[in-house]
Symmetry: C2
């Protein structure tokens, strides 16, 4: 599928609602569960998504749109949530993510981006030149990857409890 | 995590809401998308979940609880949705799934299952003896596996659109 803003926006708008529907009010056994050492719980994933709303997607889009002399993005801090989520409940994180996402989508829609703007480039610290179109497509795929991760992490908590059915549930061994 | 009914029920209750939050009103490019031939779209997955509500989980639990002479389960029809979803919109399927799930959870809660009942066995057509506890844990993990699948199938539609970011998005190549 080619990237197209009117098709992409509704997915970005749904992510906070999907995560709230999946996670709000669940026992902590689910929301704090991980896939083992150095892997993330649903709670950690929410903090990571919040950090992206604050520092990544819109900030990088602004760098591209400005077309200044230095178009290099700040590297993403993949561990910021372990600091920034401290003292916050899962409900706090769901609210914060929803508010930031709504704000960022209002900014994005307000830009009324043209095809020419979507083709503008910034510089990714590892990949080099990337377009605004690729950045926005990545925002969508990144959301969906983390929704899939949250469901997978939860499913894995029952890897043993399902007994022989494990053979029919590939998600338990992904 | 050991299976425990009070911890499992809230997950089962959330699945229809999570899928509605993720999918309702999305362009068909997303909801009809697949991972290639012989793979399922989000629309197909919903039909599969509905078939499970009608014919599998509660029906199998009843066979186990009855402890009759023949405790063998009917094999699950993994292709029923291609027949049964015909003519239905995605919104119809979301409504149908939510209604059936609510009904089935009311049945399950009404049973007030004891540990002794959770240890009763039925006969799986492929695996042989399985307990009610394993069946119910599988119901939960099966839900979560399909939520992960829906998000993954959608993410993959942007496999090319993300450009070099594909290297950072393992969900695109799962």
């Amino acid at each position: 599928m080619d990237f197209d803003l009117p098709t992409a926006l509704p997915v970005l708008a749904r992510t906070p609602h999907a995560l709230r529907a999946l996670l709000a009010g669940l026992p902590a056994e689910w929301t704090d569960a991980t896939e083992g050492p150095e892997t993330w719980s649903p709670y950690d994933v929410l903090g990571h998504l919040i950090h992206g709303e604050r520092t990544d997607w819109i900030a990088r889009a602004r760098i591209i749109l400005a077309q200044g002399a230095d178009r290099r993005f700040t590297p993403y801090d993949r561990f910021a949530q372990f600091r920034e989520s401290q003292g916050k409940s899962l409900g706090d994180l769901l609210d914060e993510f929803a508010a930031l996402r709504a704000e960022n989508l209002a900014t994005l829609e307000g830009w009324r981006l043209t095809d020419a703007q979507l083709a503008l480039e910034g510089e990714h610290p590892a990949f080099g030149p990337v377009t605004l179109r690729q950045l926005l497509a990545t925002w969508v795929a990144h959301d969906l990857g983390h929704v899939a991760q949250v469901a997978r992490v939860m499913a894995k908590q029952y890897r043993d409890a399902v007994g022989p059915w494990r053979a029919y549930l590939p998600v338990l061994d992904r």
